[in-house]
């Protein structure tokens, strides 16, 4: 391997999402970020210039870089989340470019679910508005570790420090109250290019990083490895060949934590115990592995384990429960009502479930709770209580985005109904945690 290859592959990967309403200049920011970091290639730019000319526009419309669908270009809107890829010498980026209009809650939830950083855009002339609070609340709910407040259109407020400082202070107070752990405010003009990639000479009073500098240097979250280990079993590997007559490995991606050979483990929900005899990391034997590596575990005892089981260190195994209390974001067009029979997909396990209660619907604008709404419709966020047909080894979403998240699925047509997050809604709030029920079911008479 040469130096070139090593240097190029040594960089880390940051997944981030953008949030902003239609007129905040999100497309311009994304276009500017791609353009100024030299991530737009000649043929893409030519295509945009060509399309802009066909529409009678004098300057290339950078939004056309990101609006990929026929209907989007025809209507000048963004329909759905798109993923963009760019790289600098220091880092690779995957940008979830989420549209800022009507359906934005579910779109932002989609983009933020895998993001380690969210950029919330604000128009400097308008300051913190309802939309800004909703974006902050979604980032807080999804537990995105880093939030950037990009105060845009600073050129239209005379690059005034006081305007920026007031907005930054108001937003930081609000988002901190929701439990957002890290907030960085940056004054920018996406149109003029101030503080997006290059530092602005128009705002000498600002001593912080540009948007790109911050994206390049923000620590990529490693808290996954500080949590107790969780290993959802995806697939059992049994070659049964002459070369490997007795090989029996449990394949999966480590959801959190670190696993070591020799560690005592418990398999859930059965509760059987064993010891990790070997870890195969994609064909090669290792002593230690950590999230989010995809590996194969071999255990000392031949016990019954299949897809959907969870392997965890015996010292820190999660409790199992059939009563899930969670916050859900409803993402489907058909409503979710109390009494609905659904499927719950948690890690690699899919089980039947019933919606027992919808205690409240959250109004994102002021975070007020609307009690017992009866049902949730598209883009609603609410608390639900779900009873599952089989026990789940569920963590609180606050502890693990991977083992605390789940989908609710319509068993009739397979539609993804809702995105669920177990446990408390916001880090800043104190709500009772989901009860840890015993595995015993008191309602065995279901007829699905």
């Amino acid at each position: 391997m040469t130096t070139t290859t090593e240097q190029l592959s040594a960089t880390t990967l940051l997944r981030f999402a953008t949030a902003g309403s239609v007129d905040d200049g999100k497309s311009t920011l994304v276009g500017r970020l791609l353009h100024d970091s030299k991530s737009v290639l000649t043929d893409q730019l030519e295509a945009v210039e060509h399309a802009s000319r066909n529409r009678g526009q004098e300057t290339p419309d950078l939004a056309l870089l990101t609006d990929g669908l026929r209907a989007e270009r025809e209507q000048g809107i963004t329909i759905d989340v798109a993923y963009r890829y760019f790289a600098t010498a220091r880092r690779r980026f995957i940008l979830a470019d989420t549209p800022g209009h009507v359906q934005y809650t579910r779109n932002m939830v989609t983009g933020a679910s895998t993001a380690e950083l969210a950029v919330v855009l604000v128009d400097a002339r308008n300051g913190v508005v309802e939309q800004t609070r909703r974006h902050a609340a979604v980032a807080a709910l999804l537990r995105v570790p880093h939030v950037v407040l990009a105060v845009n259109k600073m050129d239209l407020v005379g690059y005034e420090e006081t305007v920026f400082a007031k907005i930054a202070e108001e937003f930081t107070a609000y988002a901190s109250g929701l439990g957002v752990p890290e907030i960085t405010a940056i004054p920018i003009s996406a149109l003029a290019g101030d503080n997006v990639v290059d530092p602005s000479s128009n705002m000498d009073w600002y001593g912080g990083p540009t948007v790109l500098e911050h994206l390049e240097t923000v620590p990529v979250s490693h808290d996954l490895t500080a949590c107790p280990a969780r290993f959802p079993v995806q697939y059992v590997i049994r070659p049964q060949t002459a070369e490997h007559p007795d090989y029996r490995g449990y394949a999966g991606q480590i959801a959190s934590g670190v696993l070591r050979v020799g560690e005592a483990v418990t398999v859930l929900p059965s509760g059987r115990t064993s010891v990790i005899e070997g870890i195969d990391s994609l064909g090669e034997s290792v002593d230690i592995a950590w999230a989010p590596q995809s590996v194969t575990l071999r255990l000392a005892d031949d016990i019954d384990i299949s897809r959907g089981d969870l392997i965890a260190p015996s010292a820190s195994a999660p409790a199992t429960t059939q009563d899930v209390e969670a916050t859900v974001c409803h993402v489907a067009d058909q409503p979710l009502a109390v009494g609905a029979r659904v499927l719950i997909k948690h890690t690699t396990r899919t089980v039947k479930a019933i919606v027992k209660e919808i205690p409240s619907r959250l109004t994102l604008d002021d975070l007020s709770q609307h009690p017992n709404p009866g049902q949730l419709v598209a883009n609603d966020i609410g608390r639900v209580v779900v009873r599952t047909a089989e026990p789940l080894a569920l963590d609180a979403y606050a502890d693990s985005r991977r083992t605390g998240s789940f989908l609710l699925i319509d068993p009739a047509d397979g539609t993804t109904l809702a995105a669920g997050m177990a446990g408390e809604a916001f880090a800043g709030h104190t709500e009772p945690a989901a009860p840890d029920a015993s595995g015993a079911s008191d309602d065995d008479g279901w007829d699905f």
């Binding site: 000649t42 995809s294 690699t348």
Partner: protein, 312 residues
Amino acid sequence: MTTTVAHVHGGTDAPYALSHLDSLESEAVHIFREVAGEFEKPVILFSGGKDSIVMLHLALKAFAPAPVPFTLLHVDTGHNFPEVLEYRDRTVARHGLRLHVASVQEYIDAGKLRERPDGTRNPLQTVPLTEAIQRLKFDAVFGGGRRDEEKARAKERVFSLRDEFSQWDPRRQRPELWQLYNGRHAPGEHVRVFPLSNWTELDVWQYIAREGIELPQIYFAHEREVFLRNGMWLTAGEWGGPKEDETPETRLIRYRTVGDMSCTGAVDSDATTLDAVITEIAASRLTERGATRADDKMSEAAMEDRKREGYF
């Protein structure tokens, strides 16, 4: 300790960080295993091109030491590079895999498809592909498509539900949350699966270099007789080129993509090694498809329109 740990630590400051290639590899392997765990009859689309070669390599690693639990499907346009077909057959034999071939030429010979006036067969692949999926009852079909390739592909999900006509409706895609892929589908429907969604062309080449994966030789610089059509260097062949006003000349070229000969252009290059190719790609100011694919230039939404009909 093994090389895995050595390259994981390279260039990162945290003890438990993953390099970006390891992150992408781990994610792709997770996707392969999800499909193996949840579907009855998956298939990998395998053309002998670099993306499908990387897919197969990842699948081999995902299930080692057991064999890959999928068969392969090649949609043969009849205008393939002979080196690529030779590579395809050799790879299939080496790993003891089963290959299905859906042939565009057979459809043309049977009168079920008509040759296009421009001689391009790429758009003709859709019918043999979708009919093979229905006939052989595949419920999950792996494709090597990457979101960085094209703006319509940037909108594609990792698990992409297709109806019984294989159609893609970008407005009716399921939201894709966390790493929880929803593959539920009705009988007759299937799911297209893209494990390389988050990879870029450079990632693919760096991974090929790191893993020491063999490729067909047309990916490396070689002298070849080509002619210019619509700004692209095409290889002469029985498919309809060069025409009278097109002059063949011998140039030092290589291919960035491998597809139907009638619409896959070569680029001028002296890159004969993987490192030279990586250096060239890193410095290139043209996207892979922009540089080498005639069929994407047909209209602003060419890829989207083909995808809606069932193309990858």
